[in-house]
């Protein structure tokens, strides 16, 4: 009986949540303070769409960080591949939409396969630094603007002609909202399915104790690579949606700060928990979008400079919030009310511990694998 009701709940709750989210653009309700305009206005819908989009990307990052225990600092690279390749393909190379999507999908699979295979040769903290370095290559490339393709600081304005008509223009923001909601749902379903599958169970075992997985005769390397490719591919898909939603590409999506904000989203929501990353992504994006408005409000502007300056910097507020969160609520929002001590981050301890299951260095046996 219990098992049955659990299964029904695990389908019914997401259905209800996403069903409600799908109806949001039809509500003409004004929520004062939270949003500037009613829910069905393009401005509000775009903020909501961004929230859902980054919620989805955060879920893909959680697959790496929360479920497999891989502390990657280079997830932005794969998102940026999706954003820039879509924008460049459609605009500079004048490809059709299907061709662009095919190429993006191919690159979105091959790039993480190659880079993941190299960076997974080290574990723990060294893995974090190596992924950061690879992502830096993306940042450099974007800033270097080869053949005028990436547009350096200005980015790329998307040529919308190849897109279907219902995605073009401010008045179709409703459809763009549904597009991002669709993306979030797909990521949610794929992550749930993957985590429950048999490789998914190995990922979680790798997170808990990699050495034991190896002793059981399973190969941690190929399983970690699988998680890396899947998570990166989902991020690339998110990049495609972002390019269409925003109408172009900007260099911020390729920056190291973007990966760090994904990390904050996941920890904020609760790493390795069903609703954690989605919640964290939505909340972080909302704060990031709304804090500048808060900072320019009269109440803040009247404060003395000592308080006004820090409050005017969204990243300062979010950074401090993040530190407090790690200290006082390590399970994130989804971890509130959970019994037992701090599941979220503690489960990941093994992954970065120097000389835990696998410290900074891979041994010969795995290096040969």
């Amino acid at each position: 009986m219990r098992a049955w009701s659990g299964r029904i709940l695990s389908v019914a709750v997401p259905l209800a949540v996403f069903g409600f989210l799908a109806l949001v653009p039809t509500f003409s309700v004004d929520i004062p303070r939270l949003f500037d305009g009613p829910l069905d206005t393009p401005g509000t819908l775009q903020i909501l769409a961004l929230c859902l989009l980054f919620g989805g990307v955060a879920m893909s990052y959680d697959l790496l960080f929360g479920y497999t225990g891989l502390l990657s600092f280079g997830h932005a690279l794969y998102f940026a591949i999706g954003v820039y390749l879509t924008a460049i393909g459609l605009t500079k190379w004048e490809w059709s939409l299907p061709k662009t999507l095919l190429v993006v999908a191919a690159v979105g699979l091959v790039a993480p396969l190659v880079l993941g295979a190299v960076s997974l040769r080290v574990g723990g903290i060294a893995f974090a630094m190596v992924t950061l370095a690879f992502a830096q290559a993306g940042t450099v490339l974007v800033a270097k603007n080869p053949d005028g393709l990436t547009g350096a600081e200005e980015g790329v304005f998307l040529n919308v002609d190849p897109l279907p008509e219902f995605f073009i223009g401010v008045f179709n923001m409703k459809n763009l909202y549904w597009l991002t909601l669709g993306y979030a749902i797909v990521v949610f379903v794929v992550v749930r399915w993957a985590v429950a599958s048999s490789p998914g169970r190995v990922w979680q075992a790798v997170r808990e104790n990699e050495l034991r997985v190896e002793v059981l005769g399973l190969r941690p390397f190929s399983h970690k690579l699988m998680a890396f490719v899947l998570a990166s591919f989902l991020a690339t898909a998110g990049g495609v949606v972002y390019a269409i939603l925003i109408g172009g590409a900007t260099p911020e999506v390729a920056s190291a700060n973007f990966t760090l904000s994904l990390l904050i989203m996941v920890v904020l929501g609760g790493a390795g928990m069903r609703w954690g990353a989605l919640l964290g992504g939505i909340l972080y994006t909302y704060l990031d979008q709304r804090l500048p408005a808060l900072a320019s409000s009269e109440q803040v502007q009247d404060l003395p400079r000592v308080f006004r300056t820090p409050l005017s910097e969204p990243l300062f507020v979010l950074g401090v919030l993040f530190i407090l969160l790690v200290f006082f609520l390590p399970g994130g929002i989804a971890g509130i009310g959970r019994r037992g001590r701090r599941r979220g981050l503690r489960a990941l301890e093994e992954a970065v511990k120097p000389g835990g299951a696998r410290g900074g260095v891979v041994d010969e046996a795995e290096a040969g694998a």
């Binding site: 080290v122 974090a128 950061l132 820090p310 200290f327 120097p354």
Partner: protein, 296 residues
């Protein structure tokens, strides 16, 4: 020939800054298992403190003296912020490595944003003694004098660290702690003092790198620390985590390679080449140049 000499010495100057950052990172990681993401912010804060002091010390007529005094302020602030970070944020999370890393990530973002909030994103011009911006002729190449100061500072820090480890009691404790922390504690030695000390040394080295970068680039901007930190990470991984000599060797290689490729190939290629070098090192020697496993 003269271009090559200029590139080489400039590359070494760049490598010197990487080494100053990487040595602190590597020591902190080696001893405590903490990857300090706020290290770049220490650099930025130290450099800004020095710049701020340069403005406040305008009563002093002699520019070199003013520069030196302001540099001392920057170094002190670098040490202070590092010690505070260790005491307030890192120590309560002792042995919880994931939380320690995350806290330094948050601190790095917050400090950088705060600096940008107070002094804006634009580059602030450094007051530098004229001697530093003049050039000296070496084998026909006109080398800006600040390059020699950067290289000299890095060599001095390297020798100082080696002497500290070799001849002092605390150096011995730190070295032993890197090898086997549990054993040092079992012998009744309070390693936590060594933690604070290592953080302070890292903070000073980072601030020094920041001040030198202010001279090298002609000014300082809030993103400087984060930018240099990424290359310092590359240096640390190539050199091998926890190895000072490995970091020194890797810093020289990375600095030179970046300069040569940026000049002879095209601007930006050097940055990519360094990242490729990292990939190759990982494939051939996953433990880095020093190739030893960090003890725990």
């Amino acid at each position: 020939m003269s271009t090559w000499v200029l590139l080489t010495i400039t590359g070494l100057g760049l490598g010197a800054m990487y080494f100053l950052i990487a040595s602190g990172l590597s020591l902190i990681y080696g001893l405590m298992g903490v990857l300090n993401f706020a290290h770049g912010a220490f650099l930025t804060v130290g450099a800004y403190a020095s710049w701020w002091a340069q403005g406040k010390l305008d009563g002093i007529g002699s520019i070199p003296l003013r520069f030196l005094l302001a540099a001392l302020v920057g170094l002190a602030v670098g040490a202070l912020i590092a010690v505070l970070t260790e005491l307030v944020l890192i120590r309560p999370l002792y042995q919880r490595h994931i939380e320690q890393v995350l806290v330094t990530v948050g601190l790095g973002l917050a400090l950088t944003a705060l600096v940008a909030g107070i002094w804006t994103q634009t580059q602030q011009v450094y007051l530098t003694p004229t001697w530093l911006t003049e050039t000296t002729s070496v084998f026909g190449a006109q080398i800006p004098n600040d390059r020699f100061v950067e290289i000299g500072a890095a060599v001095a820090v390297l020798l100082g660290l080696l002497a500290f480890f070799r001849y002092t009691r605390y150096g011995l404790i730190v070295r032993a702690g890197v090898e086997n922390r549990a054993m040092v504690m079992a012998l009744g030695i309070d390693v936590r003092k060594a933690f604070t000390l290592v953080f302070a040394m890292g903070g000073v080295a980072a601030a020094l790198a920041g001040i030198l970068s202010g001279v090298y680039f002609g000014g300082i901007d809030p993103a400087r620390g984060t930018h240099l930190l990424i290359y310092a990470f590359i240096v640390v991984v190539i050199g091998g985590l926890g190895s000072i000599l490995g970091s020194a060797a890797a810093a020289v290689i990375v600095g030179l390679m970046q300069q040569y490729a940026n000049y002879y190939a095209s601007s930006g290629i050097g940055d990519i080449a360094v990242i490729l070098l990292l990939a190759v090192v990982l494939l051939v020697r996953p433990g880095g140049l020093s190739g030893r496993e960090v003890a725990h």
